[in-house]
C-alpha cells in the first residue's frame, strides 16, 4: 500500500461570489502520475495554488505529507505556465535554474556553491538544454523555456512535481520530449499535471481527475460521454483534434453544441 502524499478533503474556494472549487476531495498517492483536466475557469489553477499553499481555502483542508502545505515549501516543485512569465528579464538560463537552489527565508550574503552550480548544470543536461546554460532567457523558444522551468523545479529536489499546462504553445517535438522526460521523472517522484492536452492524458497519465468546479471524475484515464458532458457540457470539445483516440470511447456528437 503506497502512502498518500497529497490529501484534499471537502475543499471549497470562492473569489467573492464566484465559487471556484466546491467540496473537492482527492487523494494522490506516492509515485502517482495524475492528470487534471477541465474547462477554463474550472478551478484547475485554484486547486494547484491550494496544494502549493498560496491560497487558504474557505472550507476543507489540504495536507501535503500530512502537514499544512505552507510548512512544506520545498517538497513540491512547481512548473508554472510560461506564457505568464517575464521573458525580457535580464537573466541567463543557468541563473534561473539556480534560483531553485535558494534557501527559504532571507539569506544575506548568499552565494551559490560549486555544488549548486554542478546540480544546475546536471539538471540542464537532464532536460536536454545543457548547451543553452549561458543564453539569455529572451532567446529561448517556448519548448526550451518550459524545459528550463522544469529544471528549476527539479533543482529544489522535490518529492512532488506540479506542472501547469507544460505543453501549451510548445512545438510538437518539444512536447514529446517533455512527456518522455516526465515519464522518466515519474519513476522517482509523484507528478501532478494540469493540461488541456487530451492526447497526453490517454497515453502518459496514470490517473485522471476532471474538474469543473466540482470533481466530476477521478479514476482511470478513460473518459465516457457522460463525464465529458458533465465536464464541458459539450463532448465535441474533446475530439477537437479530429483524431479518434481512446480518451473518449463512444461518441455520437453532442446535441445543441
Amino acid at each position: 500500500m503506497r502512502d498518500i502524499v497529497v490529501k484534499i478533503e471537502g475543499l471549497t474556494v470562492s473569489y467573492g461570489k464566484t465559487v471556484a472549487l466546491e467540496n473537492v476531495s482527492l487523494n494522490v498517492k506516492e509515485g502517482e502520475y495524475l492528470g487534471i483536466i477541465g474547462p477554463n475557469g474550472g478551478g484547475k489553477s485554484t486547486l494547484l495554488k491550494c496544494i502549493l499553499g498560496l491560497i487558504t481555502p474557505q472550507r476543507g483542508s489540504v495536507e501535503v505529507f500530512g502537514q499544512n502545505p505552507v510548512k512544506h515549501k520545498t517538497v513540491i516543485g512547481y512548473v508554472p505556465q510560461f506564457a505568464a512569465m517575464d521573458k525580457g528579464f535580464p537573466i541567463s538560463v543557468l541563473e534561473v535554474v539556480l534560483t531553485g537552489r535558494l534557501k527559504p527565508g532571507l539569506s544575506p550574503f548568499f552565494k551559490y556553491s560549486e555544488e549548486d552550480k554542478n546540480i544546475a548544470l546536471e539538471l540542464l543536461k537532464k532536460v536536454g538544454i545543457a548547451e543553452l546554460a549561458n543564453r539569455r532567457i529572451s532567446e529561448l523558444s517556448g519548448g526550451e523555456f518550459q524545459k528550463m522551468l522544469i529544471a528549476r523545479a527539479l533543482a529544489q529536489n522535490p518529492k512532488i512535481l506540479l506542472l501547469d499546462e507544460p505543453t501549451a504553445s510548445v512545438d510538437p517535438s518539444s512536447r514529446e520530449q517533455i512527456y518522455s522526460l516526465l515519464s522518466v521523472l515519474n519513476k522517482e517522484m509523484t507528478i501532478i499535471l494540469v493540461t488541456h492536452d487530451l492526447l497526453a492524458i490517454s497515453s502518459h497519465v496514470g490517473k485522471l481527475a476532471c474538474l469543473n468546479g466540482r470533481l466530476v471524475y477521478h479514476g482511470e484515464p478513460q473518459l465516457n460521454e457522460e463525464i465529458a458532458n458533465n465536464l464541458y457540457g459539450c463532448p465535441v470539445d474533446l475530439i477537437a483534434h479530429g483524431v479518434p483516440h481512446r480518451v473518449l470511447k463512444d461518441h455520437d456528437g453532442g446535441e445543441g453544441c
Partner: protein
C-alpha cells in the same frame, strides 16, 4: 569648469551629489524598469510633495516631510495592490495627485511663498548643501547595502515572485522593503532633479543599459556609469548656459535613450539582413 570645481564648494557638492544620485538611481532604476514599477515610482515621488508642503507649514526640514510622505505612499500603494480589489493604476493615480494637492494646500496655508520651493519640484543640484549631501550619501549607502546583501534573493524575486514565494522566500517582506527603498531613492534624488523630473533619471539610464546588457548585475553597473555621465554633463551644461540643472540632466537622459534605441534598432536590422 575644472578650476571652478576646486574653487567653489557648491560645485563640489553638486558633483558629489550627482555621483551618489547616479549610484542609487542606477541600481534601483534597473529594478523599477525590469519589475515595471516606473509609474508606481512616479506616484511615490509626487506624493512626497505633500510632505514638502507639510514641512514648510510646520516649520521642519521639508525633505524629512518628503521622506515620510513617500514612505506612506509606498506602503499604501503596496498594501492596496497586494490586497487586490482596486486596480493599482487607479490607486497610484490617486496618491499621485492627492499628494500634490496636499502640498499645494499646506503651502497656501502658510504666509508667503517659500522661495526655494521650485528646487523641490525641478531640482537644483547647484544648491545642494552639506546636510543634503549627508542625507543623499546615507540613503545611497543603505539602498546599496540592502540590494547587495540580498542580491540572489532579489534576483529570484524580481524574475518570478510566485515561484520565490513557493520556495519560501519572504516575498511580502521583500516587496515592502523594495517600495521603501524606492521611496528613499526618490528622496535622495529630489535635491538633484526634483520631484517632477525624477522618473526620467530613474528610468533612462536603466532602460539604455537594458538594451546592451544581458545580466542584472551588469545592467546595474552600466546604468550607474550612464547616470554619472548624464549628471556630470548636465551639470556642465547648466553651469555654461545657466539653464536649470535638473532639466538639463533629464533632457540629456531622455535624448540619450532615443539615440540608444535608434542605434539598437539599426544594429538588429543589420544583423537580420546579414
Amino acid at each position: 569648469m575644472i578650476d571652478a570645481i576646486f574653487q567653489y564648494k557648491f560645485l563640489q557638492n553638486a558633483l558629489i551629489a550627482g555621483i551618489f544620485a547616479s549610484i542609487v538611481c542606477g541600481v534601483i532604476g534597473v529594478i523599477i524598469v525590469e519589475k515595471r514599477l516606473v509609474m508606481m515610482s512616479g506616484g511615490i515621488a509626487h506624493t512626497s510633495y505633500g510632505g514638502v508642503g507639510f514641512g514648510y507649514l510646520l516649520n521642519f526640514e521639508p525633505i524629512i516631510g518628503a521622506f515620510i510622505f513617500s514612505v506612506i505612499a509606498a506602503l499604501g500603494i503596496g498594501y492596496i495592490k497586494r490586497k487586490g480589489g482596486t486596480r493599482s493604476d487607479v490607486v497610484i493615480g490617486l496618491f499621485w495627485s492627492v499628494g500634490m494637492a496636499l502640498g499645494i494646500v499646506f503651502i497656501s496655508l502658510m504666509p508667503g511663498y517659500p522661495p526655494e520651493l521650485d528646487s523641490y519640484l525641478f531640482g537644483n543640484i547647484l544648491s545642494v548643501t552639506s546636510s543634503d549631501l549627508k542625507l543623499i550619501a546615507i540613503f545611497t549607502i543603505i539602498v546599496l547595502l540592502v540590494i547587495i546583501i540580498l542580491f540572489n534573493d532579489w534576483k529570484a524575486y524580481l524574475f518570478d515572485d510566485e515561484f520565490s514565494t513557493i520556495i519560501g522566500l519572504k516575498t511580502a517582506f521583500m516587496e515592502y522593503l523594495l517600495l521603501i527603498l524606492i521611496a528613499m531613492t526618490v528622496v535622495a534624488l529630489i535635491r538633484v532633479v526634483g520631484i517632477i523630473l525624477v522618473i526620467a533619471l530613474l528610468s533612462a539610464p536603466a532602460a539604455i543599459s537594458g538594451l546592451f546588457t544581458s545580466k542584472l548585475k551588469n545592467q546595474m553597473i552600466l546604468s550607474v556609469i550612464l547616470g554619472c555621465i548624464f549628471c556630470i554633463l548636465g551639470l556642465w551644461l547648466s553651469y555654461l548656459t545657466d539653464i536649470s540643472s535638473g532639466a538639463a540632466i533629464v533632457i540629456l537622459s531622455g535624448f540619450a535613450y532615443l539615440v540608444a534605441y535608434a542605434v539598437k534598432r539599426l544594429l538588429s536590422l543589420k544583423l537580420n539582413r546579414a
